[in-house]
Point group: C2
Chain length 233, copies 2
């Protein structure tokens, strides 16, 4: 998996929450045979089955404090925490396109919650007549809501313009990530009082928490070359 999310900070707790979150799966032999993809282009969404490769080692907890649920505890089987006995995750994501890139087949995906380097186990088509149960009872879960306003300084706007051609919907991505307030879930990279670093693609987004309702994006900068670990794109 290659993802706009290079680390857990900024990645959403579920798929579909950040529409501009993009990435691709690169298929290696023997899984990249063209016959294995016939008919896939007709599906708007696919299931990605993957390993939670950054989930905590050691003993799995059977009582869990899920993200965005106000700190309440629930059972492992009632949550989607990555720290599971199976270490297996499933995400339904939008299939943007299938492309051959330097002889390798890639699935380009949107609405992802997967981070760079996630090992992929399987791909299956999303079947709405089976998988879509809009009225299902969802217990204690609250849908994570955008809670912050995100503004850009003039400097950040100018920097953004340089990168929008390279990274599609970059502005929207930054807004969608920050308005969910990712500091609630993962320890951020703190630069100064209320100033933090967010890594997206090969960029460093410097933002400031102005107050409890507002975030200001100060800068959008390329990462230092020694911080870039992404392969060709």
């Amino acid at each position: 998996m290659h993802s706009c999310f290079k680390e857990r900070f900024g990645a959403p707790p579920q798929a579909g929450l950040i529409s501009a979150a993009r990435g691709w799966i690169e298929f290696h032999p023997p899984y990249n045979r063209e016959e294995a993809f016939v008919g896939l282009e007709g599906f708007s969404h696919v299931w990605v089955i993957f390993m939670f490769h950054q989930s905590q080692a050691g003993e799995v907890r059977f009582n869990v404090t899920p993200l965005y649920q106000d700190g309440a505890q629930f059972g492992l089987w009632a949550t989607r925490t990555p720290n599971r006995t199976s270490h297996i995750g499933q995400s339904v994501v939008e299939l943007e396109r299938i492309e051959k890139h330097k002889g390798k087949l890639r699935l380009y995906l949107k609405g992802i919650d997967l981070i760079e380097g996630t090992p992929i186990i399987d791909i299956k088509p999303y079947l709405p007549y089976v998988d879509a149960i809009p009225d299902a009872g969802s217990g204690f879960t609250k849908q994570p809501q955008a809670r912050l306003q995100v503004n850009f300084t003039t400097q950040a706007e100018q920097q953004l313009n340089q990168f929008e051609n390279i990274y599609p919907e970059l502005r929207l991505l930054i807004v969608e990530v920050l308005q969910l307030d990712p500091r609630r879930n993962h320890k951020p990279d703190r630069l100064d009082d209320n100033v933090y670093n967010l890594r997206l693609y090969d960029l460093r987004v410097v933002f400031k928490l102005v107050n409890e309702q507002n975030i200001s994006v100060l800068e959008v900068l390329p990462c230092a070359a020694d911080q870039i670990d992404t392969p060709d794109h």
Copy 2:
């Protein structure tokens, strides 16, 4: 997994197609700790992640002829065939209740497509705000439709009455299974010209294909004792 389906013949190709299809998952230590189930009762549906333990051994085919799709071939990644490189399946099923039975925790499920003995890897809550995408484009797939009328002989009706107390919605289960015409997918146990055996729970359902539109259920009988391999229920 304990299931009304003891073999693949009769089991549907997807979850949710046969509403009266019931079974339960029994949790063994250390997975049966009560704290692991807290909050689960609030969800109407759960994902069951499991192994396709009866999928064909040997080389996986990358071009597949899916069930109920008129014999056309598609790629492995565009289908949900059990014969996958990962051997992993995912089914969304209705959670009827959670029960303690002789000290063991059981999840009672409805709308299953899982057969007896399926190894379960994980349980996750179904989150409609993430998983339900009713308008998703479903490519070449056609939803399997009930195509046969199912009638019961007087004898079969009388036999059914004896078992309805033991097996809830047994009549509906037989109708739902047979009207999908399971002979299209798995080689049936043929007794005579157009007369077949169907195994459901510890029962043997003898049915006759009267013509291309009609099935008649001739008998509903307990399996011979040596054919019963189900544990206590």
